[in-house]
């Protein structure tokens, strides 16, 4: 052993040193998250600095509006905002940062992305003070429509809101009003009227619905929205939460699946939707080769560069079913403040500042997205969506806000894809989902 041992001894010493070094570097990783209290955010913040990790990239329309707001904010308050325009991956970068003591003071993102990483893990500060802070002489809570907050989506485990939205997105069934003025004049209000429209379109020789079938999130909108129409907002989440899986035996759930099956079996979907690659189908829709597409409020901006000349964007809501009031899909984009941030006050003040009508109006007219404030004007292309949100009695989140680990990606999406792509019938889909959900909860509780 002589020679080897003598070589190994210094190596062992090095290994020890390296281990010691790396464990100290990760120190604090297991710190319990601080039990944060709402702070008083009035008062001077002059001279204070915050770090903001933005979901926007330099040059994006939304970035320009926020950058202008930050410039005004710095001038008005004397605080300094150091921004990193990181883009959509900012939430992925946030996860490891939350395990250190070097966290950003302010982050923004979609609710769907922020909730799993910071909202539901108790890593966000309560922003109660932001909601009571006044912008344009009114409390923030009064400029955000009550139906956005009344179902408590922003509330953390402590019952206090952890997110402040500044913009929203929604969806609708989009069409070219220049080609189909009849749809703008009288959009189908019920499912039967919708099928009538589809039959007429089919008879006229054009493909009724375009769909990028390779995007599971788009496919699932059909089944999930149909279910929400039948059973109301929150019913999909309740169905999924049911550990016994018995909810899937509800005739209304089968009914929702049957609606999707009708679209598939009825040949209303553009041929090739089940074997194409995004954005092929929305491109041919924008070229006028298909009449309708169910997609987000971003559709006009996303397809604007290749749409047929004279394309006049308009949309109607997913048709109503039964007597339930039809909720509108509203997904939120907004701010959260990590609980570990040491600059709570200026960070929360900036979150409130974005709700000034000046920047809300700019989001609507310059960035052409939907501002969270209903009194802000929007671009003509999304007026139909805004009208639908304003008129809806309630709202729901994309996928009804289901974020259980891996449930959508591993359980729901694959089976829903089979249904939407015509590989299984509605009855088979129900049976498979029930079994898979029971197994999921057996493994994950």
């Amino acid at each position: 052993m002589g020679k080897t041992a003598r070589h190994l001894r210094p190596l062992a010493a090095l290994l020890g040193a390296a281990l010691a070094l790396s464990t100290t570097a990760c120190g604090g990783a297991t710190d319990a998250s601080p039990a944060a209290e709402a702070v008083d955010i009035s008062g001077s913040i002059s001279g204070q600095t915050i770090n903001y990790w933005s979901m926007w990239k330099d040059g994006e329309p939304q970035q320009k509006v926020i950058a202008a707001a930050i410039a005004d904010f710095e001038k008005e308050t004397g605080a300094t905002v150091s921004v990193q325009w990181q883009g959509r991956s900012n939430t992925e970068k946030l996860v490891p940062a939350l395990n250190t003591n070097n966290v950003p003071d302010l982050v923004d993102g979609t609710f769907a992305k922020l909730a799993p990483v910071i909202g539901e893990t108790g890593q966000a500060s309560p922003l109660t003070s932001v909601y009571s802070y006044e912008v344009d002489g009114k409390a923030v809570s009064s400029v955000i429509p009550e139906k956005f907050t009344s179902n408590g989506v922003f509330k953390g485990e402590d019952g206090q809101p952890w997110m402040v939205p500044y913009s929203v997105s929604s969806d609708g069934i989009w069409f070219d009003a220049a080609q189909h003025p009849e749809l703008k004049a009288k959009p189908p209000a019920t499912w039967d009227e919708f099928i009538e429209v589809l039959d007429k379109l089919k008879a006229s020789g054009s493909a009724p619905i375009a769909a990028d079938g390779d995007i599971a999130g788009y496919n699932s909108t059909w089944f999930v929205t149909a279910l929400l129409r039948l059973k109301g907002a929150g019913s999909f989440k309740a169905l999924v939460e049911d550990k016994s899986g018995e909810g899937w035996d509800d005739p209304a759930v089968l009914e929702a699946a049957r609606k999707v099956e009708t679209l598939v079996k009825g040949g209303y979907l553009n041929s090739g939707y089940n074997a194409s690659k995004f954005p092929a189908q929305q491109q041919l829709w924008a070229n006028g080769d298909a009449a309708l597409i169910l997609n987000g409020s971003w559709t006009p901006t996303e397809t604007g560069s290749y749409a047929a000349p004279g394309f006049d964007y308009s949309s109607f809501q997913f048709p109503a079913m039964g007597d339930n009031p039809a909720s509108a899909r509203v997904d939120f984009i907004g701010f959260a403040v990590p609980a570990k941030s040491k600059n709570q006050v200026p960070a929360q003040r900036l979150a409130a500042f974005m709700l000034n009508s000046k920047y809300q109006n700019a989001l609507g007219t310059e960035a052409k997205v939907l501002p969270v404030r209903p009194d802000a004007p929007v671009a003509p292309a999304v007026e139909s969506v805004k009208a639908a949100i304003d008129a809806a009695p309630a709202t729901h989140l994309q996928n009804d806000g289901v974020t259980f680990p891996g449930f959508m990606e591993k359980v729901f999406f694959p089976k829903d894809d089979e249904l939407f792509l015509g590989k299984t019938s509605a009855d088979e889909f129900i049976g498979k989902m029930k079994a898979a959900q029971i197994q999921y909860w057996k493994d994950n509780s």
Binding site: S22, E92, L98, S271, A275, F278, F404, E409
Partner: protein
């Protein structure tokens, strides 16, 4: 004849007999000079300054994170916030998860089926290219696809295989009115396999050719004089003399095939706009979706468990492969 790489360490005559490898009794060392010859002393003095920094970096950047991953895999954890110790639950759950098994099956398909196709093709190309005029140009041409980012192939797949894409447009004049659904969920993985064969063959051909080029021409002349057939030449000259290169390539492929991720992600994931269909997942994609899908609460425990399992199974495969490929290197 075989080459022995055992270096003379004591400064004396080259050591060959197995007996001399036995540890020298300590006493005799102390008796002569503490720590052995002066070269040995120098060598020991330089060990820390030379090996130390690399060793520390390697430990901090690779070994500790790997151990950290094993630790995380024993917990239920969303990436931040409280960690709950669950023991080996994550592993049990993964083995029961049909999706992990099918994802891992896909990884094995890439490793063995695509690997076999690549090596058969690469070897065939090597033999063809050896005597070809303009082989340097040909070599560059077949190597070229390897330089292109996999993302490009993912995007290109859309242009080529979409319902209104290139292939169907070319087929239409030939009377094919109902072409196959190229990009249907079940067809994506076979397409990925074909793409990988096309892009990776050139890379291994280049390495194998370097090995084949090393063979001195007089062996071929010998073959010609002895009247050996082309197959005999392959069997008795080329294969034995390139075996070590071949073995290295096999290990390289094993390691890289396990990590294949981005091409699956862009091929079926709509260039990153969503998660690819589960039919085309590999173990790496499974790991990623569990931790970073962005659509649900991250499950770091399950993700690291699947990563640790992949690492373990692959380590076993590499060791087995090395064993199976072990021959005495031929000195020439």
């Amino acid at each position: 004849m075989t080459l022995h790489l055992t270096e003379p360490r004591t400064g004396g005559a080259p050591v060959h007999s197995p007996e001399s490898r036995k540890p020298v009794p300590r006493k005799s060392q102390r008796g002569s000079r503490p720590g052995g010859s002066s070269i040995d002393v120098q060598r020991k003095k330089l060990l820390i300054p030379f090996v130390g920094p690399a060793f520390v970096l390697y430990t901090v950047l690779f070994i500790v994170p790997a151990l950290g991953a094993v630790w995380i895999s024993l917990h239920k954890w969303a990436g931040s916030g409280p960690m709950k110790f669950v023991g080996l639950d994550n592993y049990g759950r993964i083995f029961r998860d049909q999706l992990f098994l099918s994802s891992f099956g896909n990884t094995l398909l890439l490793l063995f089926v695509v690997g076999t196709a690549i090596f058969v093709l690469a070897f065939a190309l090597t033999l063809v290219l050896r005597d070809m005029a303009g082989k340097k140009i040909a070599r560059n041409v077949i190597f070229f696809p390897h330089l292109i980012n996999a993302l490009v192939f993912g995007v290109l797949a859309g242009f080529i295989f979409n319902p209104g894409g290139m292939v169907n447009t070319l087929l239409a004049p030939l009377g094919v009115t109902d072409p196959p659904k190229w990009l249907a969920q079940d067809n994506i993985f076979p397409l990925i396999m074909v793409t990988l064969v096309c892009t990776t063959t050139g890379y291994f051909t280049t390495i194998l050719m370097a090995g084949v080029d090393r063979i001195p021409p007089y062996y071929y002349e010998d073959c010609a004089l002895a009247g050996a057939s082309a197959f005999q030449r392959l069997r008795y000259v080329i294969l034995p003399l390139t075996w070590d290169v071949f073995g290295t390539c096999a290990v390289l492929w094993t390691i890289s095939s396990v990590k294949i991720f981005e091409i699956v992600w862009v091929f079926g994931g709509s260039s990153g706009a969503g998660v690819p269909p589960t039919q085309s997942w590999t173990a790496a994609v499974y790991t990623y979706v569990n931790a970073f899908s962005g659509q649900s609460t991250p499950a770091y425990g399950a993700a690291t468990a699947s990563a640790v399992l992949s690492l373990a199974l692959i380590s076993v495969l590499v060791v087995l492969l090395r064993r199976a490929m072990r021959r005495d290197a031929v000195e020439f």
